[in-house]
């Protein structure tokens, strides 16, 4: 069973993971879409946790930054954290795992990264993957597409996201069975000739 948020006026919580590869227009769309009510986030106001992941890349050249601005690490665009009546936005840089935030999430919106996708599905969280059209043939998308085909997640492009957030029905998603590393160890024991 997928986790479904309790009905009521509670503020929903979405974990959003992005990466630099997503077009910069994703962020405004996300921020515009989330505060509106949607079936996944049962609240007038969602409190998205924006997890900004900045992969290895070139640092922005110092000249492009005003001299007073603090260094922003490797990433180029970092949204400001904000808190209004309808929205609390918390921003953080790369974390090696979503462990702390996932249990609290009612909805996960993620880039197509395998780590974030699998981690969310294992925690039985409703997952929507936003794909970057510019990376259509990128191998990152293979996994997201396959998992969508198997009915474990929704995926869309950035411009489709607001519509999808309104229309998606999490009850149609199928539970994601855990992987079976024990099959691997049994296979390995056999082929290397390990004696018990």
């Amino acid at each position: 069973m997928l986790h479904t948020p309790a009905p009521g006026p509670a503020r929903g919580r979405a974990v959003v993971t992005l990466r630099r590869a997503l077009p910069s227009k994703t962020r405004p769309v996300l921020l515009g879409a989330l505060p509106r009510p949607c079936p996944g986030v049962q609240a007038e106001a969602a409190a998205p946790y924006l997890r900004l992941r900045h992969p290895r890349g070139r640092r922005p050249r110092a000249a492009r930054r005003p001299p007073s601005a603090p260094s922003q690490g490797r990433g180029k665009v970092v949204p400001e954290p904000l808190s209004t009546e309808s929205l609390t936005l918390d921003v953080y840089r790369y974390k090696d795992s979503l462990k702390e935030d996932l249990p609290k999430a009612d909805l996960v919106i993620s880039h197509a990264g395998a780590g974030s996708c699998l981690e969310s599905l294992e925690k039985r969280k409703p997952l929507t993957v936003v794909i970057n059209e510019k990376l259509m043939n990128n191998h990152q998308l293979e996994l997201a597409k396959q998992l969508h085909k198997d009915g474990h997640l929704f995926y869309c492009t950035c411009s489709m996201l607001p519509g999808l957030l309104q229309s998606m029905d999490f009850s149609t998603l199928k539970c994601f069975p855990p992987g079976q590393p024990e099959k691997f160890s049994a296979f390995l024991d056999k082929v290397v000739g390990l004696q018990k």
Binding site: H139, Q180, F187, L188, V191, L194
Partner: protein, 216 residues
Amino acid sequence: MGGTLILAAAAGAVAVLLAVRLWVVLRPRATVPRRSLSLLVVAGSGGHTTEILRLLENLSDAYSPRHYIIADTDEMSAHKINSFEGNRADRNPRAMFTEYYIHRIPRSREVQQSWLSTVLTTLYSMWLSFPLTHRVKPDLVLCNGPGTCVPICISALLLGILGIKKVIIVYVESICRVEHLSLSGKILFHLSDYFIVQWPTLKEKYPKSVYLGRIV
């Protein structure tokens, strides 16, 4: 003229010898029964590390000592490995101490690196991989596709070709690869003893691979 001919003949002979040795090394053979074996894990970087540690979680203590190879600039992987081994030791207090080592070699390819300089850095990491593999002389090399694993697996193969030690090479293609093998996968498909894929589409395309279902 005569000298050139002799040189060519010698080069040809060496090439044939290497090819024969490669064939001998890669030929399936009867498994040797054993109680323990040393393991060399190419953790590489980022998601690859997370994935391979999940595979290791279920392996018994017979796979010891465990040697990990990571990219020298990759502190995150070192941290993940240390906490993985720490947890493992906590779960199993019977083991007096866990024997594991972390080795660092330069990345074959940084993200966005140009292809020409990739050739050079790969040669450089090959140069460093062989002494490392020779020192460790593992029974088993396990990897899942970071760029670093190609020079390591070739070094392990060389140990076999030179008759120093037959190393079993097991390659597990990352769960991310549903329809296409990674570049490392395409290279090591022919050079590994067991090549494991995690999606049926890949098994159909590469019938010689092993498919055990989703194992991470």
